[in-house]
């Protein structure tokens, strides 16, 4: 059967050689290479579940009165979008399961991308010749963040309405062009009827298409350049060591896809997420306390809470509103640094070598300390995003928590950097016998 198909294809496309290369493609055996795979498979699950959801969702903010299965909201005015989410959750068999699976997968998707990027960063896998894939990967992360925000904004419940207002304020805060960008993007002042249909088409078409295209490019480049290897015997700049694709690696990888799907199904079925019927429909004068964005935007939220109210004025005219600094400038600086990193972290003036063997974190103490400090900075901001929740839980005032966090946001990264640096130096001393360089061990 396979032989016949193969012969048929080969007679038309000359595929035998490619097929053989593909079966023998070598993948390194290390768990950290699974992180990217998890991100990839999360995207697959998002597309599958999202397609199902799109068959039921109505992207419209036309107002209707609800008379559905969920009696607590009977007779309440709401948008058609919100009603379609209620119908999907209460009336479509397995609708709630798929909706919750979609939302859980989106959280895992971003988490896997971040973990994958951290692995790349801490092992310096972005070095020549892989700079391009680092840039593409970062762009995929940005797209995933944006699409997550768009996704939970279109449900038109109170929480998503709150997120949308904050998004509006962030866009509006961009100096000079902010108002124009906002009005062209949203169609007017929030809330405006054009927003949900626009977000919907961006969420289900434009951004997923971009993600799919960049993902194909990302994987194509990995396939062409081969993976990196952790340092070890026979792992040199000129050769790769690992498992062949066929059959055991392929079986393991499909097993991982199924296992991820299983985890998501368990979460989607058993752990409630985004219960919009509890929040209630979006209503101009409604807001909820303790409102939190999805985890991956927590750091932006936290930065907005911690940053002091500083407006930049020229005379009486407001030029830069306070929101701009934590919500636009900070993310720009963070991602700008990450995008530029492969071009900053290289021997001066140029790096002509291909680096195929990874550096271990302890071998580059400054680099590792810097990465950990940035992660700690983001972690403190993440907790700052829930300062009201922490205040309620600990019985202190928000003002106190905010003061502590304003100190921690600089203190904790500094302490982390120092500690990690010392740990790395210690580890490097313990492994005092230097490893031969990847090029030397090849010659040995």
């Amino acid at each position: 059967m396979i032989e016949e198909i193969g012969r048929w294809l080969d007679a038309r496309l000359h595929t035998a050689k490619f097929f053989r290369r593909a079966l023998n493609h070598v993948f390194p055996d290390h768990w950290s290479f699974m992180l990217g795979e998890i991100a990839l498979y999360s995207f697959v699950i998002l597309v599958i579940t999202g397609t199902y959801l799109a068959l039921f969702f109505k992207a419209s903010s036309d107002q209707v009165i609800y008379h559905g299965t969920y009696h607590a909201l009977s007779g309440v005015r709401m948008s058609e979008a919100y009603r379609s989410v209620l119908d999907l959750s209460f009336d479509v068999p397995a609708g709630l399961l798929v909706r919750q699976m979609h939302h859980w997968t989106s959280l895992i998707f971003v988490g896997a991308i971040v973990a994958h990027a951290a692995r790349i960063f801490f092992t310096s896998a972005y070095r020549r010749p892989r700079e391009m894939n680092w840039l593409i990967g970062l762009t995929l992360l940005v797209l995933a963040l944006v699409n997550g925000f768009l996704g939970y904004s279109i449900l038109d419940d109170v929480l998503s309405g709150t997120g949308l207002r904050i998004g509006y304020a962030i866009m509006l805060s961009i100096p000079v062009i902010g108002p124009w960008v906002t009005f062209l993007f949203l169609g007017g002042n929030v809330p405006v009827a054009t927003t949900i249909p626009r977000f919907y088409s961006l969420h289900i078409f434009l951004i997923p298409a971009l993600i799919a295209a960049l993902l194909a490019l990302h994987l194509g480049i990995v396939w062409r350049q081969l993976h990196t290897n952790y340092p070890g015997p026979r792992r040199t700049n000129a050769s790769i060591v690992g498992s062949r694709l066929w059959p055991s690696y392929a079986a393991k990888s499909i097993g991982l896809l199924l296992f991820l799907f299983a985890v998501v199904a368990m979460l989607g079925g058993l752990v409630q997420i985004d219960p919009v019927w509890i929040y209630g429909p979006y209503n101009p004068d409604a807001v909820i306390t303790g409102a939190q964005p999805d985890w991956y935007l927590g750091w932006v939220e936290g930065a907005m809470r911690l940053f002091p109210g500083v407006n930049l004025r020229v005379g009486e005219i407001l030029v830069i509103p306070a929101v701009f600094f934590p919500a636009v400038l900070l993310p720009l600086l963070l991602f700008g640094t990450l995008y530029a990193f492969p071009f900053l972290d290289k021997p001066f003036p140029s790096d002509e070598k291909a680096h195929n063997v990874l550096r271990l974190p302890y071998e580059q103490p400054l680099h590792t300390a810097f990465g950990c400090a940035v992660l700690m900075f983001l972690l403190v901001l993440f907790f700052a995003g829930g300062d009201d929740v922490i205040a309620v839980a600990t019985g202190t005032s928000v003002v106190q928590i905010r003061t502590i966090l304003r100190v921690l946001v600089f203190g904790a990264p500094a302490a982390t950097a120092a500690l990690v640096y010392l740990l790395c130096i210690g580890a490097r001393r313990r492994h005092a016998v230097p490893r031969p360089s990847p090029d030397e061990s090849e010659a040995a």
Partner: protein, 408 residues
């Protein structure tokens, strides 16, 4: 290759000799196992434990070589088993070097790096051993059976009421069991040898690069009237960009004056969201209500928080005197920080609090920010009481409501 051959004889334990010796031992062990089959329950129990441990380990902790683990290798590494794929198939030489590792690269590794590569299952258990196949088959069968049972369970629960908990649980077990089965298959019942493949050397040779560039330049040189092509292309691209930008203009109205205006104007009555006007005794001292302009109840931008405080407490600036009849004072309810409704009022301190980022505003002194990230006061709505004792706006807000923007 010639260098490899030169070094070959110096390796004390050559690859071919060792591999044949090991496979001989292996064969002997297997016959022994077959002979004593069924007698050694203890050995079987150890097998089970070993397999479980290996499975857990292979999933959670695949240690990289040279990651600093200084434990000695558990087993003397065996040279790779002869691999049929290394033999040229059908035509010519293999285009990827796989299979037996050339003897030269099997030289003892540097002292700090333990020879601990590949999968633990392969290091610790003979791939061809009967017990591995027996237990592998058992585990995979169990996983498949569990998966099939759960899959049937999903179908059953879907067709009989579709309870989300049951659906999620059964779907999860169904997918998970098949996933586990595949991973077990991969680890226990599929061939695995560590493979080494050469990497393509980067970049291309100077000759190849020059040839490509030459072809490109030759093509360019062949084009006549190149400057015309350049200018034509530039004009076309510029026009296309202008057209696209113009089309984008259809996406939204101008932000000016929309950002500066609300429907509040002199004479608009204050209405509750239920459409009730506000009269002198609608509110107690220290209480609050959300109001809208009569002509636009439910408007996001025009929403206003109306608070009644004791008149003598108010410290409004002199130009705002008379804006708060009978202690009724009104501010935009949209936070000047990020646009959330400023929904909480603390009567003890006369503070308005935004639940989104915890900005606080002092109601008594024109809603100036007293804490949190907000930098501008909430715009005030001047009020007056008409002859029927109904509250009306005496004008629009003192500033554009909502979050800040350039040029405000």
């Amino acid at each position: 290759m010639s260098e490899n051959e030169k070094r070959g004889p110096r390796i004390p334990d050559g690859n071919p000799a060792r591999s044949s010796r090991v496979s001989g031992e292996q064969a002997k062990r297997e016959t022994d196992q077959k002979a004593s089959h069924g007698k050694h329950t203890a050995a079987v129990a150890i097998d089970v434990l070993l397999l479980g441990w290996m499975f857990a380990k292979s999933i959670f902790s695949k240690a990289p070589a040279g990651n600093g683990i200084s434990a000695p290798p558990l087993n003397v590494p065996r040279p790779a088993a002869p691999d049929r794929r290394a033999v040229p198939v059908r035509d010519g030489t293999p285009d990827i070097v796989v299979g037996p590792i050339p003897a030269a690269v099997l030289i003892a590794p540097p002292p700090r790096i333990p020879e601990k590569t590949g999968r633990s299952a392969d290091r610790n258990l003979e791939p061809e051993s009967g017990s591995r196949r027996r237990w592998g088959t058992g585990f995979v069968l169990c996983a498949f059976a569990l998966g099939i049972a759960a899959g049937v369970g999903f179908l059953f629960s879907y067709w009989s009421g579709a309870n989300t908990l049951l659906l999620g649980g059964t779907l999860s077990v169904f997918l998970g069991a098949f996933g586990v089965a595949l991973v077990l298959y991969s680890h226990l019942l599929m061939p695995h040898t560590e493979a080494t493949a050469p990497r393509e050397q980067l970049p291309s040779s100077t000759g190849q690069r020059d040839a490509a560039l030459d072809d490109y330049c030759a093509g360019v040189r062949g084009v006549q009237r190149r400057s015309l092509l350049k200018w034509g292309g530039a004009a076309g691209t510029g026009l296309l960009a202008s057209i696209v930008i113009s089309l984008m203009r259809s996406l939204g109205m101008s932000p000016y004056p929309a950002l500066f205006t609300t429907v509040w104007k002199r004479g608009e009555r204050l209405m509750t969201s239920g459409g009730q006007p506000i009269s002198v005794d609608s509110l107690e001292h220290g209480s609050t209500i959300t109001v809208f302009p009569e002509s636009s109840v439910g408007s996001e931008r025009a929403q206003t928080v109306l608070i009644r405080v004791k008149e003598q407490l108010l410290q409004l600036s002199s130009d705002r005197a008379g804006w708060a009849p009978m202690g009724y004072v009104a501010y935009s309810r949209v936070c000047t920080h990020a646009g959330c409704p400023v929904a909480l009022f603390e009567a003890d301190t006369n503070q308005l609090l935004c639940p989104c980022h915890q900005s606080t505003f002092d109601v008594l002194s024109g809603a100036r920010p007293t804490g949190g990230p907000a930098a501008r006061p909430l715009p005030q709505l001047p009020l007056y009481m008409d002859s029927d004792g109904i509250l009306r706006a005496a004008g629009g807000f003192t500033a554009p409501p909502g979050p800040g923007f350039s040029g405000m």
